[in-house]
Assembly symmetry: C2
Homo-oligomer: 82 residues x 2
């Protein structure tokens, strides 16, 4: 099965570390992985929240949210990029 | 680079869901993935705590801990398997 995964982050140290780990782990031959940096793409915040993202970094795979460690809450992300 | 990853869990619903996602995501051709269920292997609890695991489910990759969502704290795990 081919899947789509989106890694959402906000550039925080915890995010950057998790991003590297996710990039290393994911089987890119089967999974299309997109990285979204909220500070560079504010318009994607609503989409992430709708998917259930409560904090960053988070990886959404086929609609399932994996919150990976804790960098910042979505509330703090929204304040930071406002 | 070939890596070693260990997924630690305690059989909780959040753990089981995350386990399935991790099994689906990880590139098994490059990464050796071991799944450790604490209730079935209490002896591995100390090892996980030493690696920095604070809650389950967690994935430790080459010494780096990724806490994935939140199922239970390690304190609760220890009480449950005592």
């Amino acid at each position: 099965m081919s899947s789509k995964a989106v890694f959402y982050h906000a550039g925080c140290p915890v995010c950057v570390s998790a991003e590297q780990q996710v990039l290393d782990l994911v089987d890119r031959s089967r999974i299309e992985l997109e990285v979204v940096h909220f500070a560079k793409n504010k318009a994607r915040i609503a989409e992430a929240e709708k998917a259930g993202v409560k904090s960053v970094p988070a990886l959404v795979v086929d609609g399932n949210v994996m919150h990976i460690n804790f960098g910042a809450s979505m509330e703090d992300v929204k304040k930071a990029v406002a």
